[in-house]
Symmetry: D2
Subunit: 93 residues, 4 copies
Amino acid sequence: MAIAEICLFPLGTGSPSVGEYLKPVIEVIENSGLRYELCPMGTVVEGPIDEILSLVRKCYDAILASGVGRVVISLKIDERTDKKLTIESKVKF
Amino acid sequence: MAIAEICLFPLGTGSPSVGEYLKPVIEVIENSGLRYELCPMGTVVEGPIDEILSLVRKCYDAILASGVGRVVISLKIDERTDKKLTIESKVKF
Amino acid sequence: MAIAEICLFPLGTGSPSVGEYLKPVIEVIENSGLRYELCPMGTVVEGPIDEILSLVRKCYDAILASGVGRVVISLKIDERTDKKLTIESKVKF
Amino acid sequence: MAIAEICLFPLGTGSPSVGEYLKPVIEVIENSGLRYELCPMGTVVEGPIDEILSLVRKCYDAILASGVGRVVISLKIDERTDKKLTIESKVKF
């Protein structure tokens, strides 16, 4: 079970406010069935690697369908083999 | 007022569990006086760019002082000139 | 055609030198058939989004097979719809 | 001596082509006196942590002065204490 953070930066939109392009992406994440948490600098999801990568593909489709001419997707994946990672375990120190 | 996410990855520690090296970093952030939020893939802070970069410097010092032989610091900064960003405004869509 | 940068950080390895864990990943990228460039902070590849995500999956497999107990994968993808991005076009200003 | 990769994503520019906003940033890096390499997904610099963070500050100033309404700065820093990192050492496997 990996933890991933997905951030999308729409470029060339004409306004510094890009929420309208991100809304369909959030919907895709909500509908993925994966556990997730909206964070200020990206959305964190928890799941098997294949489902995470498949979700990234759907986010890519969703943002391009929203009309942006360019997007930068930033993804960070954390995986370990000795025990299961969860969203909650990642904020315990 | 910029929003930044700071993540530190300690390398060469001998164990996949790296919380002990991150604890002093969290303390540095807590003591910075900046508004912050612990997120699963990094800590988000809100403040003027100079205070954010100064905090990154202190996190760098803290993790090297904790005994790690190598660290990768990942930082993302979001800044806009037309209105004030806040941690809260970044999760409204 | 998207451009992506793939970086892998092996954690918990016992030594700050992690090249031995990255070698099999480089081989996977070389064998992918995609155009690529080794850069100091990651490897840049050029290709369709599906081939890039499929390559990320293979890099994930390769590094876990190399024996690391934990890995952080950092991925950045740049895509635009109005013209074709290439590795070369990204360093022209 | 740390190695860092600096990437800037100008938002809200009206066109997916953002080179004009990045040109002054490249000049700032060239004039920094630090060793650097232009890579497809960011510029890699080599230097002491304080000079790197000071350079990030100057890039931030340069891009805001170029007229963008919003910017996301992505920074990755690699530092180790047992031996000196160089741009060249980072692409040897």
